[in-house]
C-alpha cells in the first residue's frame, strides 16, 4: 500500500517537476530582461555568465528616464492607447448590442464582414493606408495613429463583446425598454453592470493591441517626438553599438503595463480571450 503511494508520489513529483522546469524556461527571457536592467553597466558587458549580479543598481533607469527620449515615447503610447481603447470599446459596444439584441436585414452579412476583417491581415493595408492618410494630412499625427488603431481593434472588440452580451439575459433590458429607457441608458445602466468583466477584458485587449503595435506606428509616424514605445524601443537596438543595459531597461518599462494588468486579472481575462477567439 505504502509502496503504491510512494510510487504515486514519485510520479506526481516528476510531472510537477517537468511542468515547472518547462514553465521556468518559458519565463526566463522576460526574467532575464529584468535582471539585466538592474545590473551595473560593466557587469552587463562582462565575458562570464552570472545569473544575479553582485551589486544591484537602478542607474540604468535613471539614465533612460533622464537622458533619453524614452519618457516621451511612454507618454505618446499612453495617450494613443487610452484614447483608442475608450473609443473602440464604446463604438464596439453599440455594434455588439445591435448584433446581440436585434434581428434585422443583412445582419448575417454584416456579422461576417466584422469577423472577416478581424481575420484580414492589416499588414497588407499599410501601403494604401499610408497613401490615404497622406492625402488626409494624417501622416505624422497622433490622431492618424489613433484612427488607424481604432480601425484595427474594432473587429475583434465587436466579436468579443458579442459573446459577452449574448450571455446577458435579454429579459433585463427588455424590462428597462418597456419602462421607457432609451437604448443608451439600457446599455449604460442595465447591460454594462452585468457584462463589465467582458467589457474590461475587451478594453484590456484593445489597450494591449495599441500598446504593442509596431508596423503602423513605424510607417505613419517618422517625427521622433511623436513616436510610440515599440518604435522608439526598436530604434534603440537597431544601431551597431547597442547599449543593451538601456534597451533592457526600456523593455522592462514597455512590459510593465500589460504584465501587471494580465497577472492581476488573469483568471477573468484568459478564459474570455480563449473562448472568444476559438468559440465554436
Amino acid at each position: 500500500m505504502s509502496r503504491v503511494r510512494a510510487g504515486q508520489l514519485a510520479q506526481d513529483l516528476l510531472v510537477v517537476g517537468l511542468t515547472f522546469a518547462l514553465l521556468l524556461g518559458l519565463a526566463f527571457p522576460t526574467l532575464w530582461i529584468f535582471l539585466t536592467s538592474i545590473r551595473p553597466e560593466q557587469e552587463v558587458f562582462s565575458d562570464t555568465f552570472r545569473l544575479i549580479s553582485s551589486t544591484l543598481t537602478l542607474e540604468s533607469y535613471r539614465t533612460l528616464l533622464a537622458k533619453t527620449t524614452f519618457p516621451t515615447y511612454i507618454r505618446n503610447s499612453l495617450v494613443v492607447s487610452l484614447i483608442t481603447t475608450v473609443t473602440s470599446v464604446a463604438i464596439s459596444l453599440l455594434a455588439a448590442y445591435s448584433f446581440s439584441r436585434h434581428r434585422f436585414r443583412f445582419r448575417g452579412v454584416l456579422l461576417i464582414m466584422v469577423v472577416f476583417s478581424q481575420l484580414f491581415p492589416y499588414v497588407i493595408l499599410i501601403t494604401p493606408i499610408y497613401v490615404f492618410f497622406y492625402h488626409l494630412k494624417l501622416v505624422n499625427t497622433t490622431l492618424g495613429l489613433i484612427i488607424a488603431y481604432i480601425a484595427t481593434t474594432v473587429p475583434f472588440c465587436v466579436y468579443m463583446l458579442l459573446g459577452y452580451l449574448d450571455s446577458v439575459p435579454r429579459e433585463l433590458d427588455e424590462a428597462a425598454i418597456v419602462d421607457g429607457c432609451s437604448t443608451i441608458r439600457v446599455i449604460c445602466s442595465v447591460v454594462l453592470p452585468v457584462a463589465w468583466p467582458g467589457v474590461a477584458a475587451t478594453a484590456i485587449y484593445s489597450f494591449a493591441q495599441s500598446w504593442n503595435e509596431y508596423l503602423i506606428a513605424l510607417t505613419l509616424v517618422t517625427r521622433n517626438e511623436l513616436k510610440t514605445v515599440p518604435v522608439g524601443l526598436a530604434s534603440f537596438f537597431g544601431e551597431y553599438t547597442t547599449r543593451w543595459d538601456l534597451v533592457m531597461t526600456a523593455s522592462v518599462l514597455a512590459t510593465v503595463p500589460t504584465l501587471i494588468i494580465f497577472l492581476v486579472l488573469q483568471r477573468h481575462l484568459v478564459s474570455g480571450l480563449a473562448t472568444g477567439a476559438v468559440k465554436q
Binding site: 552587463v44 490615404f132 465554436q280
Partner: protein
C-alpha cells in the same frame, strides 16, 4: 443572481400611452439596429475595406512615395509581371510558407499540446498549482513582441549573450555564435522567438478546451479498463480535435502575415536569407519607394490568405451561422 424582473407587457399608464409606446417600440426595432452599427461600420468601411480595395488599384500603378501628390501612372500588369520574374519573390514565398508559418505553427501546436496536457494533470490541480502555472505560461504573451525580439537578440548576442556564455562555459562551444547573423542558424533563432512569444495562446486555448471535457467521460473509460495512454489517444485527442483545427488555422493566418519578428530580428538578412512576403512588401513600398510594387506583393498575400480564411469560416462558423 437576483430575481429577473419580468417584462411588463401592458404599459402601466392608461390612455394613449399604450399606442405611443408600441409604435415607438416598433420604430426602435426598424432603424435602431443600423444606427447602433453606424459608427463601427463606417470606421471599418473607411479605414479597412476602402484601403483593401485601394490596394488593388495601387497594384496596377507605378507610384513613388515622393510623388503621392501627383498620383500614380497606370501600368497594367507590369507590377505583377515584375513580381513573378523577381527571384526574390520565390525565396520570400518559400521562407514565409516553410519557415515562418509551417515550422513555427507545428512546433507551437506540438509544444502547446504537451504543456496543456501537463497543466491539466490531476496533480497540478490537487496541489493547487493551476493559478501559478497559468501565470507563468502567460509571461511570454504579456511581453510585447518588440520586447520579445529585443530580449532574444540580447540572449543570443555573440559575446555577452546569456545563451552563448552558457554554451561556452559548459564546453559545448569554444566561441560564441552570432545566431541571428549566420545564415545556417538564423531561421532557427527566428523560430525560437516566434514560438516562445506565441506559444501561450495555444496552451491557454487548448487548456480551456481540455477543462471543458467532463470528468465522467474519463471515469467511464477507466471503468472500461482503458489505461492512460489509450485514454489520451482515444478520448482526449479526438475530443480536442475541433479546437485544435481552429487554433491551427488562426495562428497560421496570424503568422503568415507577420512582419515584426523577421523585420526586427534580421531586417530580412543576412543578405536576403530571411526575406518573407511581409518584409518584401515593406521594403519595396517604404525603403525602395515603389508603392505600386509593394501593393502587388500585398495582393499576392491577400489572395493566399483568402484561401485560409475560407477554410477557417467553413471549420469554425458553419455551425453557428447556420443557427443564427
Amino acid at each position: 443572481m437576483g430575481v429577473t424582473p419580468l417584462p411588463r407587457l401592458s404599459p402601466a399608464k392608461p390612455g394613449s400611452g399604450g399606442r405611443q409606446a408600441l409604435s415607438g417600440y416598433r420604430l426602435r426595432h426598424l432603424i435602431e439596429p443600423y444606427v447602433l452599427l453606424l459608427p463601427a461600420l463606417s470606421v471599418l468601411l473607411v479605414f479597412f475595406f476602402r484601403p483593401a480595395l485601394f490596394n488593388i488599384v495601387l497594384s496596377f500603378q507605378r507610384i513613388s512615395l515622393f510623388e503621392l501628390g501627383r498620383g500614380g501612372k497606370w501600368v497594367g500588369l507590369a507590377n505583377f509581371v515584375a513580381l513573378v520574374q523577381d527571384p526574390l519573390t520565390e525565396l520570400a514565398l518559400r521562407n514565409t510558407i516553410f519557415w515562418l508559418t509551417a515550422m513555427t505553427v507545428s512546433l507551437r501546436i506540438a509544444l502547446g499540446l504537451v504543456l496543456a496536457l501537463l497543466l491539466n494533470t490531476l496533480v497540478i490541480r490537487r496541489w493547487h498549482l493551476s493559478g501559478l502555472a497559468r501565470s507563468l505560461v502567460l509571461i511570454p504573451w504579456v511581453t510585447p513582441p518588440v520586447v520579445a525580439v529585443a530580449a532574444w537578440q540580447w540572449l543570443l548576442q555573440a559575446r555577452y549573450g546569456a545563451v552563448n556564455q552558457l554554451l561556452v562555459e559548459t564546453g559545448l562551444l569554444t566561441d560564441g555564435i552570432p545566431f541571428l547573423a549566420r545564415s545556417s542558424t538564423v531561421w532557427w533563432a527566428i523560430t525560437a522567438i516566434v514560438v516562445w512569444r506565441e506559444l501561450p495562446f495555444v496552451v491557454i486555448a487548448l487548456l480551456a478546451s481540455l477543462q471543458s471535457i467532463p470528468d465522467e467521460i474519463y471515469e467511464a473509460a477507466r471503468i472500461d479498463g482503458a489505461n492512460e495512454r489509450r485514454i489520451l489517444y482515444h478520448v482526449t485527442l479526438p475530443l480536442l480535435r475541433p479546437v485544435l483545427a481552429v487554433v491551427t488555422l488562426l495562428i497560421t493566418i496570424w503568422t503568415f502575415n507577420n512582419f515584426l519578428y523577421v523585420w526586427l530580428a534580421t531586417r530580412g538578412g543576412p543578405g536576403v536569407r530571411t526575406q518573407v512576403l511581409a518584409t518584401q512588401m515593406y521594403l519595396e513600398a517604404f525603403v525602395n519607394y515603389r508603392l505600386g510594387y509593394g501593393a502587388a506583393v500585398g495582393v499576392l498575400m491577400g489572395l493566399i490568405m483568402l484561401v485560409f480564411s475560407v477554410v477557417y469560416f467553413n471549420t469554425a462558423f458553419k455551425k453557428s451561422l447556420g443557427q443564427a
